[in-house]
Amino acid sequence: MPRPSALTELNDLLAKRPEELKQAKAEGRKVVGYFCSYIPEEIIWALGMIPLRLCRAGNNQAVSVGATYLTSNACPFACSCVGLKKDGRDGYFKLIDYVVDAPACLQMRRVLEVWEKYFEVRVLSLALPRQFYSVRGQAYFAQAVEQLSRELAHDQGINLDSARLTQAVELFNDIRRQQRWLYDGLKQASFALDWRQVLGVIRAGLLLDREQYLQLLHELVAQLKSQAPDNTPARKARLLIAGAMLAPGDDKLVNILAEVGAEVVMDELCTGSRSIYGEIKQPDINSIAQRYLSNIPCGSLPYPKLDDDPRHKHLRRLLTEYRIEGVIYYTLRFCDAYNFKAGHMRHLITSMGISFLHISSDYTNADVGQMRTRVEAFLESIQHRT
């Protein structure tokens, strides 16, 4: 099956992006970095700034540097964010004017404290409540988003223009719509893209110019719609990867899965499908806040009741719709938010008759061999079952 040209274009654009950003900055545009998917990009974009999700990982050297600030008790992603900033060479990290912090994961809050103190980065805060599900939490978050947009607007020396906000809401809604279409495609065995390619598309969206990105998404979708389905009979176990994130660069597991010929068809990850849901109904702050807070919640926000945990509901739906036979729950070491949930996850998934494997790792290569063996054994056990 020919590779859609839009994918190649996407990669070309990505390669040019740091240079393009440098130029945009030289022209006076501000680059606003952020980590968590709770930051409403719409507002940043509507104010004429460039939103950039700082999602780079996998570099163990950066982890070691970061650990001199955070100690080695912090998760490798958090450490690498500090390490990369300190190192100063990363094409994206060095370009940001300031960072907006929504502390879903409190480890990331510490990262920004370090950035503020030692690297003199300006940090704006978005007060994210833990109770993403309550009316009070929702009202509080709306105030926080309002406050953030005021601060950003003040910084830009402009007012948030409602026409521009409408445009932003349409743009980002459409991006998510196209991304959903791609993920929906993965439900069919004959879909022309595989999950890894879809993940690549989503990851690109964290960095590229959003209008250009949307245009490419439309092209890609059009190309895929016009292509004949891929009817190569695929009979491998359908897998889903769940967990916190697989940030660009953290490719150890994905590479092993490719090497052993496993077929991942879906993810439930912050850097993957979790960010594609939810429409903003109205171009106003309340609706924007509502979409972000009521989206599929990040595991960093606790939920008090096991029997109606919205994360479980969502996962159950994905498992059924994507006809999943095995789940790999991938977490980073020292990520309590996700590691502590492994027990309930295992119970939820195995009670549906689906195989479950928990892998907790870091960015070193020390466990590659062991990880491969575990993945192989897992796949074998699924084959046996089926």
Binding site: R110, E113, P302
Partner: protein
């Protein structure tokens, strides 16, 4: 420890001194207080007998050496070790036990008519009393191998029904990461909810955060009313503030005694007193009687010019921050090496100031949450500690301790110690500990070197 060693210990060691001490001055400790308003006296014999039996159940306590000659320490040991049985008893009579986490103000729980239990503190006490890492290891097998030892133990004591909980209602805020997920991991075991303590409550979000916090405190109270079937009157909360302010004042007084020469209380005894502020061991009134005794006994020592057991004549005075060492043996070790803990700026420091008893109690509590030093940003927490150091007469150094697996403390260790060093010029030592008794050799070397460095500096000055 084998049978004969235990026996020998029993009749020659600390236990006998404890026992004799307590028999000499009969106890006035009450049993858990909220037994439908009834108070039970616990006789001196009962405490003596309990502690004697406890030696068999809790071999871990052989490892720690509180000062038996300091009046009140045996009662303190009693209320720590008898927590499990006292809670079970009170629960059978219908009183509700509600789980909290360390930084949550106890006044809110007791003032709402329930007994507060901090599984973090109870779990770690249990680990120490058992003298093995069994509960931590078991908890880690369920949570994560990287879980902090205290959180892992907290998980185990609840999931194994060692300590009873009717409801788990902690407030979750900008402290300890593990605790919120440990709470979540126990959802299959115990019903619960949590109060949301906003992370950013400064500047422009101050008002909104305060209102949000206020609504969270109100929601908690409503839930407690539902649980107990009794209305929580503002006066009840106010009375609780008055009562617990007494406790806080006594703890500040005891801490202040470490500034006197020679210090009448050693590091371990001081920290045992401080630790119980986490939940007052199910019984603030018993805690008050016990701590008053300890304070009075220590003051008498000052009059006699007597110092605490094992305290050096001119100890190197250290403030402990981060999270105070859970491995109690380290306090004994520090005293032996000529150091002395003079206080802690950590999650146990809930006694730093009184709670205002004049305003609306619910608003007061909301404000208290938002201003707890432990919940501030690293920078502000460090500045707060600097302020305390400046107020103290004698501080020679600072220890910042992190528990293995604790992302919260560890991640701010550098910022906090850098600021302290810069602002006060005091030397800081960052330590990390995991299971009790592990790493003692290495810790001894590090503490020795740290104390030596301070002595050297002092000699040069």
């Amino acid at each position: 420890m084998n049978f004969f060693r235990k026996l020998k210990f029993l009749f020659t060691g600390t236990q006998l001194q404890f026992g004799l001490g307590i028999l000499k001055e009969p106890s006035i400790i009450t049993d858990i207080r909220r037994l439908d308003g009834r108070y039970t006296k616990v006789s001196a014999w009962r405490i003596f007998w309990f502690l004697t039996c406890a030696l068999w159940r809790f071999p871990g306590i052989f490892d720690y050496k509180p000062d038996p000659s300091l009046r009140g320490m045996s009662e303190l040991t009693y209320i720590i070790l008898s927590l499990e049985e006292r809670l079970k008893k009170v629960r059978r009579r219908g009183t509700k036990i509600v789980g909290k986490w360390p930084a949550n103000p106890t006044d809110l729980y007791y003032g709402s008519g329930v007994i507060a239990l901090d599984p973090f503190f109870a779990g770690y006490c249990r680990v120490l009393a058992e003298g093995s890492g069994r509960l931590t290891k078991q908890g880690r097998a369920q949570l994560s191998e990287d879980a902090c030892p205290a959180q892992a133990a907290a998980y185990s004591i609840i999931s194994d029904d060692i300590f009873p909980l009717d409801f788990f209602y902690p407030f979750i805020g900008p402290w300890c990461y593990d605790s919120q997920y440990c709470f979540e991991a126990l959802r299959h075991k115990v019903n619960g909810d949590f109060g949301d303590h906003p992370v950013f409550n400064q500047r422009e979000m101050k008002k909104a955060s305060f209102e949000y916090m206020l609504s969270e405190v109100r929601r908690f109270i409503e839930k407690m009313e539902e649980l107990t079937g009794r209305r929580v009157e503002p006066e009840q909360l106010r009375q609780e503030f008055i009562m617990e302010n007494k406790l806080r004042r006594i703890l500040r007084e005891i801490t202040g005694l470490t500034q006197i020469n020679p210090p009448p209380i050693n590091s371990l005894d001081l920290m045992l007193c401080v630790f119980i502020s986490s939940d007052w061991l199910g019984d603030p009134e018993a805690a008050l009687q016990t701590l008053s005794r300890i304070r009075d006994a220590a003051i008498k020592r000052i009059d006699r010019g007597e110092k605490g057991k094992n305290v050096a004549d001119h100890p190197i005075r250290l403030l402990i921050t981060g999270i105070a060492w859970g491995d109690l043996g380290l306090y004994n070790m520090l005293d032996e090496l000529g150091g002395l803990i003079i206080g802690s700026e950590c999650v146990y420091n809930l006694y730093y100031e009184d709670i205002d008893t004049t305003g609306d109690p619910v608003e007061t509590l909301a404000r208290r949450f938002l201003t707890t030093p432990y919940a501030l940003t690293s920078e502000r927490r460090a500045q707060w500690t600097v302020g305390n150091i400046r107020q103290a007469k004698q501080v020679d150094g600072v220890v910042f301790n992190c528990n293995f697996g604790c992302n919260y403390q560890a991640a701010e260790a550098r910022i906090v110690t850098d600021i302290i060093k810069q602002e006060t010029g005091l030397p800081c030592l960052i330590t990390d500990v995991d299971l009790p008794k592990e790493n003692r050799g290495q810790m001894r070397t590090r503490l020795e070197a740290f104390l030596e460095m301070i002595r050297h500096r002092q000699a040069q000055a």
